[in-house]
C-alpha cells in the first residue's frame, strides 16, 4: 500500500477521541455587538500622554481591532473593539519627538494586566486582610459621598487627607478643589524620586520653581553631578535625544561629558570621564571648579549674577574652595579639579546639572545652589546649550510631605478622618521609620482610586478603580524637556475593558452629590469638559492665529496630541537682582555610626521599575537591568576589593542592616562602585503588588534613615549608613552577555 495512506490510518487509529469543540457556536462565548466601526488588520494611531514619570512624553498608540473578553450587564462575552497594540512616541510632540523610553512602552501592560481591579470593591475583612467584595458604582459613590458629607457637616479641621502622585493639569485642579474645600486638608504629593530640591534651588537661583530644560544638543561641555539624565532624571527621553545630538549630531563637533558620583549610574556609564566624588561633596566640588574659573580669570565672579550671590564668599572668589583645600574632602586630586574647570570654561556652552543622590543628601539643597551658581558662571543659563526654563506654570507645592503627614497623625497633631489615595504607594516608598502604616491605621476611612492592589491600597475601605491611562482623557503641561510651551491633551485611545471609571469623573460626580459649595466649585459634568474649558482659555491667550475659533482649536489639539508653541519661547531668566542671604556649605550628615555601619547605602532609581511603581509589569521584570543584567530580582552591589576583604562572592545572600531595619538580597560584584559604598536598585521588594512583583527581591527604601534635606523639606535618602554580613547563598538571575553559564572567576558579570 502507499506509505502515506498507511500512516494516515495508523495515526487516526492510535488517537483518542476528543470533543468536537471547534467550529460550533454553541460551545463558544457569546459575542457582543461592536461599538466601534473598525476594519480588522488596519491600524489607526491615536495620541495619548504617558503618565509613568513626570516627563509627560506624548504617545502615539497603535490601535487595531481585536477580540476581548468583557463583562457587560453581568454577561461574559467577546467584544470586537479597538485595542492598543503598541506605544510609540508622538513624532510631533516637542518633549520626546517620536521616541519613548522602555518604561513608557511597557505602559501597554498596565491596561492588560491580569491583576487589574475590574470594578469597585468594599472591604469585608479586617483592614489589610485583602478581603473585599464587589459593589456597584452607585453604592461606591454613595458611600464616598456620605463620608465626605459627614466630614463637611462636622466642619473639622484637618479631617481630609489626600495622598497622590505629583499631579498637573485639570486633574490636579479637581483634587485641589477638594483639598481646599475642607478645612486645613493635608494634601500630600508623594514621590520617592521627587524633584522638590531642584525646584527650590532653581526658584532661589533663577526665579523659576521648575526643573531645568537642558539643551544638551547644543552643549559643548556637560558636568553632571549625579544626575541620571538619560535614564530616570527629569525628562529622560528629551535629554537622550539631546545626548545623541551632543555626541554625533553635529559634524566636526563632539561635546565632553563628565559625571561625578559615588557609583557609576546608568548615565555615568556613558561619560567621557567618570570621576568618583565623596558622598555629599558634590556642592563643594562645584564650588571648587568655580573657584578655579574665577581665580584664573576665565570668567568674572559677577557673571554668575544672583545665583552666585547666594553662595557665601562668591564675590571674593570662594577662597575656601581652592582645589588643594577641598581635594581630600571631595576625593578628587587638585589637578583634576583644576583641569576640568579649565576645560569647561574653554568649551562653551558648558552646563552643570545635579540630581539623584547628590540632591538626596542632607546638604543637597546647598549642593544644588552651588551647581546652579557654577552653571551661571559658565554663562549658559537661559542660553542655547545650557539650562532653559519652560513657560509652564511652576508646580504648586502643598508643603506637606508623607513624612509630615505620618508624624502629625501619629503624634495626634492631626486627626484625619478620610483619606483619598490616588496613584501613590507610600507604605512601599517610605522608610519604615516614618511610621506610615501606623498613621494610616488611625484614619477611619480610606478610599483608593488605584487600578491595582498594592501595599497601600490593600488598606483601603473602598476601592473605586480608575481607568488605565490608555482608557483615560489626559491633559498635561510638562514642566521641562522643551523650550516650547506645551499643553498636551488626548482623548482615550481605547474603550474601557473593565467596569472602571475615570477618577476625575468620579470626583466630579461625588462633588455634585455632596452639593453645596463643593458642587458649585466643580461645575463640569466630566473631566473632558474641564479640559475643554481650559483650552478655550488657552485659545484666547495663544491660539487665535492657529484656529478660527475655540472649537477648531480644541479639535486640532486633540488630533495632534496637544497644543504647542510654534517657536521656542523659554521663560526669561533673571541673573541680576538683589542678593539674598548667602548660603553656607554644610557637611553632609549620615545616620549610623561609621564604625558600626561602615558603608554608605546608595539606593538608585531603576531604569525599569523607576521608583517601584512599574515592578508589576512582566516586560520590566524580565528586561535585564542595563548595568547588571539582573532579571526578576533585586541585588546589592559591592566593590570587588571590598568583596574579597569580606569574603563575599557573587550571588551570596547578604544582609544589609541600617539603624532602622535590615533586608536580604544577593550580592553582585560591581567594579563601578566606591569601596565604602553599597548600592541597591529601588523598585523590588513588594510584599503585595500583583503576581509578578509580589515577593520579588527586597526594598531598600524600607531600611532608610529618616533624614531631611535642609532647606528643602525633602527626604534625604542617600544619607543612610549600613553594615553587611553574608547569611547564605542567594539567587541571582543574570542575562549576561551570553547564554552560557558564567564561570565563577568572572567577578564582573
Amino acid at each position: 500500500m502507499e506509505r502515506r495512506d498507511f500512516l494516515k490510518i495508523s495515526a487516526v487509529a492510535g488517537a483518542t477521541a476528543a470533543l468536537e469543540g471547534c467550529g460550533n457556536p454553541d460551545h463558544q462565548l457569546i459575542r457582543f455587538i461592536p461599538e466601534e466601526d473598525l476594519i480588522p488588520g488596519i491600524a489607526t494611531w491615536k495620541p495619548s500622554v504617558c503618565t509613568l514619570c513626570p516627563a509627560g512624553c506624548g504617545l502615539l498608540v497603535r490601535v487595531m481591532q481585536g477580540e476581548a473578553e468583557v463583562v457587560r450587564d453581568g454577561r461574559l462575552g467577546l467584544l470586537k473593539m479597538g485595542l492598543a497594540k503598541k506605544l510609540e512616541g508622538n513624532p510631533a510632540h516637542p518633549i520626546n519627538q517620536g521616541k519613548l523610553c522602555p518604561r513608557g512602552q511597557a505602559g501597554l501592560q498596565v491596561t492588560y494586566h491580569p491583576d487589574r481591579l475590574k470594578g469597585p470593591l468594599a472591604r469585608v475583612g479586617p483592614r489589610g486582610s485583602g478581603q473585599f467584595r464587589e459593589v456597584s458604582w452607585d453604592d461606591a459613590i454613595k458611600q464616598l459621598t456620605s463620608q465626605l458629607a459627614d466630614l463637611q457637616a462636622s466642619n473639622q479641621e484637618g479631617g481630609l487627607a489626600l495622598i497622590t502622585s505629583p499631579l498637573r493639569g485639570q486633574k490636579r485642579a479637581i483634587f485641589e478643589v477638594f483639598a481646599n474645600h475642607f478645612k486645613k486638608s493635608l494634601f500630600v504629593e508623594s514621590a520617592f524620586l521627587g524633584d522638590s530640591v531642584i525646584r527650590a534651588a532653581n526658584a532661589a537661583s533663577f526665579g523659576h520653581a521648575l526643573p531645568p530644560t537642558v539643551d544638551l544638543g547644543q552643549s559643548n561641555y556637560v558636568l553632571s553631578f549625579g544626575a541620571d539624565f538619560v535614564g530616570t532624571w527629569n525628562s529622560p527621553v528629551a535629554q537622550s535625544i539631546g545626548f545623541g545630538e551632543m555626541r554625533k549630531g553635529r559634524p566636526g563637533q563632539r561635546a565632553k561629558f563628565v559625571q561625578f558620583e559615588q557609583r557609576i549610574s546608568h548615565t555615568g556609564a556613558s561619560a567621557d570621564e567618570w570621576v568618583p566624588v565623596q558622598p555629599g561633596m558634590e556642592g563643594m566640588l562645584a564650588l571648587g571648579l568655580a573657584h578655579v574659573i574665577m581665580t584664573e580669570k576665565l570668567r568674572p565672579a559677577a557673571a554668575a549674577g544672583h545665583a552666585g550671590s547666594l553662595i557665601e564668599g562668591w564675590s571674593q572668589g570662594l577662597p575656601d574652595y581652592a582645589p588643594e583645600r577641598i581635594a581630600t574632602q571631595t576625593g578628587l586630586q587638585a589637578e583634576t579639579i583644576a583641569r576640568i574647570a579649565r576645560e569647561a570654561a574653554a568649551h562653551e556652552p558648558a552646563v552643570a546639572i545635579i540630581g539623584d543622590a547628590a540632591t538626596a543628601h542632607t546638604n543637597g539643597y546647598f549642593s544644588a545652589l552651588a551647581v546652579n551658581a557654577l552653571s551661571a558662571l559658565l554663562g549658559s543659563v537661559g542660553k542655547p546649550g545650557g539650562i532653559l526654563f519652560s513657560s509652564a506654570p511652576a508646580a504648586k507645592e502643598s508643603g506637606v510631605s508623607v513624612e509630615i503627614l505620618a508624624s502629625q497623625i501619629n503624634s495626634g497633631a492631626a486627626a484625619a478622618k478620610v483619606l483619598l489615595l490616588y496613584n501613590a504607594n507610600p507604605v512601599f516608598s517610605a522608610p519604615a521609620a516614618w511610621g506610615v502604616r501606623a498613621a494610616l491605621d488611625k484614619i477611619p476611612f480610606i478610599a483608593s482610586f488605584g487600578s491595582f492592589l498594592d501595599e497601600t491600597s490593600a488598606l483601603a475601605d473602598l476601592i473605586l478603580p480608575d481607568h488605565s491611562p490608555l482608557e483615560s482623557w489626559h491633559d498635561d503641561a510638562p514642566p521641562s524637556g522643551s523650550a516650547r510651551t506645551v499643553m498636551s491633551v488626548a482623548p482615550p485611545a481605547m474603550h474601557p475593558l473593565h467596569n472602571t471609571r475615570s477618577t476625575p469623573d468620579v470626583l466630579l460626580d461625588v462633588a455634585h452629590q455632596v452639593g453645596g459649595a463643593l458642587g458649585k466649585a466643580l461645575p463640569w459634568k466630566a473631566y473632558d469638559e474641564a479640559i475643554q474649558a481650559s483650552f478655550a482659555a488657552l485659545y484666547k491667550e495663544k491660539g487665535t492665529k492657529t484656529a478660527k475659533d475655540a472649537d477648531e482649536f480644541w479639535t486640532k489639539a486633540q488630533e495632534q496630541g496637544g497644543w504647542w508653541s510654534a517657536e521656542p519661547n523659554p521663560a526669561p531668566v533673571s541673573t541680576g537682582g538683589a542678593p539674598s542671604a548667602a548660603a553656607k556649605a554644610t557637611a553632609p550628615q549620615f545616620d549610623g555610626d561609621a564604625n558600626e555601619y561602615p558603608f554608605h547605602f546608595l539606593p538608585f532609581a531603576s531604569q525599569l521599575f523607576y521608583d517601584g511603581s512599574l515592578a508589576h509589569l512582566p516586560w520590566m521584570q524580565e528586561a535585564p537591568d542595563p548595568l547588571s543584567t539582573v532579571m526578576w530580582g533585586a541585588w546589592v552591589e559591592i566593590n570587588p576589593k571590598t568583596a574579597r576583604k569580606l569574603s563575599v562572592q557573587q550571588g551570596d545572600l547578604v544582609e544589609v542592616a541600617s539603624p532602622h531595619g535590615k533586608l536580604k538580597a544577593p550580592a553582585l560584584i560591581n567594579p563601578g562602585i566606591a569601596p565604602d559604598a553599597l548600592a541597591m536598585p529601588v523598585g523590588q521588594g513588594h510584599e503585595n503588588f500583583t503576581r509578578y512583583a509580589t515577593g520579588c527581591g527586597a526594598n531598600p527604601i524600607s531600611i532608610l534613615s529618616p533624614l531631611t534635606v535642609e532647606g528643602a523639606n525633602s527626604f534625604a535618602w542617600a544619607a543612610t549608613r549600613v553594615k553587611l554580613s553574608v547569611v547564605g547563598r542567594g539567587k541571582l538571575i543574570l542575562f549576561g552577555g551570553s547564554l552560557t553559564e558564567a564561570s565563577p572567576e568572572l567577578e564582573h558579570r
Partner: protein
C-alpha cells in the same frame, strides 16, 4: 537591484537604555518566560544590550553594545538546519520559517552571537495580556526557534504600501521597532545596496567595525565604536 538590508549602530550615541529591547518584545509577540525559566537562561531577548566593564575603581569604563541577529551573509545557522527553516532571503535577511522548524536547535548551537532563542514551552500570556499581541506577527508555538527578523513584517508592509502607491521605497521609510524607538538615534537601518542610503554611508565610516568579523560570518550589522573627546577638533 534587490535590497540588501543592513543596520548601523553608533555606540557613541547608545546609552544602554533598553528602549530597543522593550520595543522588540512589544512588536514581535515575544513571550515572557518567568523567573524560573529566566534562571535557566531561556529568556528571549531578540535584541539585548551587552555591557562591559573595564578597569578597576576609580578608573572604570563601561561600554554598551546592543546585539541582535546580524543577518549574516555567510550565516553559520543556515547550512546546519536540516529542514531549511533557517535560510537566506532574496533581500539579504536570515529568514526563520517557523513551520519548517523541528526544533533541533542546531542553528543556535552554530550561531556565534547567541541571538537565537528556542521556545522550550508553549508561550503563555496571563489573560488579558494576550490582547497586547501584534496581529501582524506570528505567535510561535513550542518547539520552534525564533530570532530577530529585522521586523520583516514592517518591511513587507512598507513594500506593499510602496507598490500600492506605485513608487520606490524611500530611505528611512521603514524602521524596525528597535531603530524607531532609540531615543538617541543610535540605530540606522536601510538598504546596503543603495549607496545613497544613510545605512550605507555610515557603514563606510572610518570608525566602522563588525562583531566577530574574523569568524567569517559577514554580518550586516556595523558598529561605530564609542568615540573619545578630542578637545576642540573632531567629529
Amino acid at each position: 537591484m534587490a535590497h540588501n538590508w543592513g543596520m548601523v549602530i553608533d555606540l557613541d550615541r547608545c546609552t544602554g537604555c533598553e528602549a530597543c529591547v522593550v520595543a522588540c518584545h512589544a512588536e514581535n509577540n515575544i513571550s515572557t518566560v518567568g523567573q524560573e525559566q529566566a534562571a535557566r537562561s531561556r529568556a528571549k531577548h531578540w535584541i539585548r544590550v551587552e555591557r562591559y566593564y573595564e578597569g578597576e575603581f576609580p578608573d572604570v569604563k563601561v561600554k554598551f553594545q546592543p546585539v541582535l541577529c546580524q543577518q549574516c551573509d555567510a550565516a553559520p545557522c543556515e547550512p546546519v538546519c536540516p529542514t531549511f527553516a533557517s535560510y537566506h532571503t532574496s533581500e539579504g535577511l536570515n529568514g526563520q520559517i517557523y513551520n519548517r522548524c523541528i526544533g533541533t536547535r542546531y542553528c543556535a548551537n552554530a550561531c556565534p552571537y547567541n541571538v537565537r532563542f528556542f521556545n522550550f514551552y508553549n508561550p503563555v500570556w496571563d489573560k488579558p495580556l494576550n490582547l497586547q499581541l501584534n496581529p501582524d506577527v506570528s505567535v510561535r508555538s513550542v518547539g520552534v526557534m525564533e530570532k530577530c527578523t529585522f521586523c520583516v513584517q514592517r518591511i513587507k508592509a512598507g513594500e506593499i504600501q510602496a507598490a500600492a502607491e506605485k513608487r520606490e521605497l524611500k530611505d528611512g521609510e521603514i524602521k524596525p521597532a528597535c531603530v524607531q524607538s532609540c531615543p538617541t538615534n543610535a540605530m540606522v537601518w536601510g538598504d546596503l545596496n543603495d549607496p545613497e542610503s544613510e545605512a550605507s554611508r555610515l557603514a563606510n565610516s572610518s570608525r566602522a567595525t563588525k562583531l566577530l568579523a574574523e569568524v567569517g560570518t559577514r554580518p550586516k550589522v556595523t558598529y561605530l565604536p564609542r568615540d573619545s573627546w578630542h578637545g576642540t577638533e573632531n567629529a
